[in-house]
């Protein structure tokens, strides 16, 4: 009478799916607050060093940040399509969409690493390693410390996301996500949306103005 996925504390799968979805949302809120601490720090230091931060932003390569923005937005779309695929019971489509998402995540990381390489070359490194000659100020140091901290932390999340997506792609090809029960897939793509969202907030404050 119990489906294999059904925990014994739940009455039916729908109930279980609702609980998991709800729990995931709470987790997302918690993650947002984790980033919020960093955004607060950024805001505080930006009010202390407005011109240095502006100089730092203008120095950052707009193209890298924006390319990454588009990569991530596209991956967000494919992650959503994967959920759509599961909902309509298209096994291969779902798997392909999930692998694409993971691939786009890797592309993001590749672009990010290229950009990091440029920063290392010019010396715009965090904290004690900072020796960027065009902005030899505390403010510049603060900006690039925050930059590395925020993008690094985001990249960590993204790496975790790529692993999750890859694993889910395998499960999708195995046909584990059915139209009746695919809440884990929904949770995964919600997590991916969170990563997207963070970049949407990081992009303007690190590359735009």
């Amino acid at each position: 009478m119990h489906a294999p996925e059904l925990g014994e504390q739940f009455s039916d799968l729908e109930h279980q799916a609702a609980a998991l979805r709800f729990g995931m949302w709470v987790f997302v809120v918690s993650e947002i607050l984790l980033f919020a601490a960093l955004f607060t720090l950024y805001a505080a230091y930006r009010t202390m060093f407005p011109s240095d931060f502006r100089a730092g932003v203008l120095h950052n390569t707009f193209a890298y940040g924006t390319a990454n923005l588009f990569v991530l937005l596209t991956s967000g779309l494919t992650a959503a399509l994967a959920v759509f695929g599961a909902r309509t019971d298209r096994r291969v489509f779902t798997g392909v969409m999930l692998s694409t998402t993971a691939g786009l995540g890797l592309a993001f990381l590749a672009i990010k690493l290229t950009e990091y390489g440029k920063h290392i070359e010019e010396g715009s490194l965090p904290g004690p390693w900072y020796h960027y000659s065009e902005l030899p100020t505390f403010g510049g140091n603060r900006f690039f410390t925050m930059y590395w901290g925020m993008t690094g932390f985001h990249a960590l999340h993204l790496t975790a996301g790529v692993l999750v997506m890859g694993w889910m792609a395998v499960r999708a090809f195995q046909g584990r996500y059915t139209a009746r029960y695919h809440v884990k897939l929904e949770m995964g793509s919600l997590y991916w949306a969170l990563i997207d969202l963070m970049w949407i907030f990081l992009w303007p404050i690190l590359y735009l103005s």
């Binding site: 060093f49 407005p50 011109s51 030899p136 100020t137 505390f138 403010g139």
Partner: protein, 458 residues
């Protein structure tokens, strides 16, 4: 708390409360007022806690059952909403009253009055160092005159410390890289312990000191006991670190200030802060861009700058107070004076807190020098201030206490402007001998110029 009693009865009630609550003596002008609020709050706390406790006890005794619970015929009574709201509302009213009184007192504690005598206080692991505007500096003992508001400008060389004088009911954190202020006024001569109240490492609990309040004539003699024309070293390094010996992470056991002998406290080392400031400004190259006589140059002139209104490149206008001046040295590009290029490098780590204080003191000393191109005016300490400079500061009175004018003060000789150091600073043998000071009850006693801390008994 005015209970409608006569002044002597009121004093007796005050004294009774103070002793019952183990409060230290009320040795500053603000202390007794703060204590009155304290009595009010604590008495309410004790009364409230006892009332709640006793009422609960009464009901338990009254409605207690030993065995055999009967099912209730009625659902037990609930408290009517109006009662809850009334209780909560009146309590909130009481709390807000405390907040109001407390906040007003707090603002008075934080905002120092005009005409303060300024002392620069530097905390470092694990000692307090005091630098006076007209020359002296001392370690562990802060000498102040009675009957005059004293402002301490606090900073730290390393981590956060907190300057705490229980007898005055004041406390203020000393933060590295910036200045905070506190003030107090001592009506009676006496000695009051200074404690460090923010954890700062192994020597935290021995980072003590004292405030020695002298009556103004004694204070003047104390000042005179050292010759401020002869100064010791620079403020950058401590000539001796009396508490440093017990410090260090490998500290075996702390030394109490109380138990320490007089030798642990070097008598006042006499340093003319303005002159040290001038010297530091010259050595560090400040004077390559800033002038002291109002002549326009690469950077804004220091003449008449202090407490002037500074228009920023952002369009804002700020007051050039100690905080702004310090920030401008540590992080010059944060607030750039409109009309000047953002070219100044940061001096963080290059200037010691002592030098920073000295340069700020130098700028303060130049506040009555007119800015812009007028030729430097002759001036005396007591004389009415010349019109405010171009930066537009309202004229302000000079401190009332006669401060002895040191030779280095006033408009700088051209040599200084060209970056040459002023006449060198030579070591000063510690002043010998004792001075007589007034004690608390009209007594007089003879003490060396550094006085061991006395236990103040509640």
């Amino acid at each position: 708390m005015n209970l409608g009693l006569g002044p002597s009865r009121q004093a007796a009630v005050n004294e009774l409360f103070r002793r019952v609550l183990f409060l230290p003596p009320q040795s500053s002008t603000m202390a007794s007022e703060i204590d009155h609020l304290h009595y009010f709050v604590i008495a309410t706390t004790i009364a409230g806690a006892s009332m709640v406790g006793l009422l609960a006890l009464y009901w338990v005794l009254k409605y207690r059952v030993r065995e055999g619970l009967a099912p209730r015929s009625d659902p037990a009574p609930t408290s009517p909403a109006w009662l809850e709201l009334m209780l909560a509302g009146s309590l909130l009213g009481l709390f807000c009253l405390w907040w109001l009184i407390g906040y007003m007192q707090y603002v008075r504690l934080r905002v120092s009055p005009k005409n303060t005598l300024d002392v620069y206080v530097t905390g470092k692991q694990w000692m307090w160092k005091f630098a006076y505007p007209d020359g002296q500096s001392s370690v562990a003992s802060l000498y102040v005159p009675t009957g005059r508001p004293i402002r301490v400008l606090l900073t730290s060389r390393d981590v956060i410390h907190s300057f705490f004088v229980p007898d005055f009911r004041i406390k203020q954190d000393a933060l590295p890289g910036r200045y905070t202020t506190a003030w107090f006024e001592v009506p009676e001569p006496g000695t009051h312990q200074v404690l460090c109240a923010e954890f700062c490492g192994t020597g935290h609990s021995v980072m003590r000191g004292q405030v020695v309040a002298l009556d103004p004539s004694d204070y003047a003699r104390w000042l005179a006991a050292g010759n401020s024309d002869r100064v010791v070293g620079s403020l950058g390094e401590d000539p001796r670190a009396p508490l440093g010996q017990v410090g260090g992470p490998s500290l075996a056991g702390p030394t109490n200030v109380e138990g320490a002998s007089e030798e642990d406290f070097p008598p006042a080392q006499l340093v003319n802060l303005v002159r040290v400031g001038t010297q530091a400004a010259a050595q560090q190259g400040c004077l390559r861009c800033h002038t002291l006589d109002g002549t326009p140059h690469i950077g804004p002139t220091w003449a008449g700058l202090y407490l002037g209104r500074v228009p920023l490149t952002t369009g804002e206008v700020v007051t050039a107070d100690e905080a702004y001046l310090t920030e401008s040295m540590m992080d010059p590009l944060a607030k750039v004076h409109a009309g000047y290029a953002p070219v100044m490098p940061s001096y963080h780590g290059l200037l010691s807190p002592g030098e920073t204080a000295a340069i700020v003191e130098l700028i303060k000393d130049l506040r009555d020098v007119p800015g812009r191109t007028e030729p430097p005016a002759e001036r005396t300490a007591e004389g009415p201030p010349p019109a405010a400079g171009a930066i537009g500061r309202a004229p302000q009175e000079r401190p009332a206490l006669p401060l002895r004018q040191a030779p280095g003060q006033g408009p700088m000789p051209p040599a200084v402007e060209q970056g040459l150091p002023p006449p060198g600073l030579q070591p000063n043998p510690p002043p010998v001998g004792t001075i007589e000071i007034a004690g608390p009850n009209g007594t007089r006693r003879t003490v060396p110029s550094a006085i061991p801390v006395q236990e103040s008994k509640p």
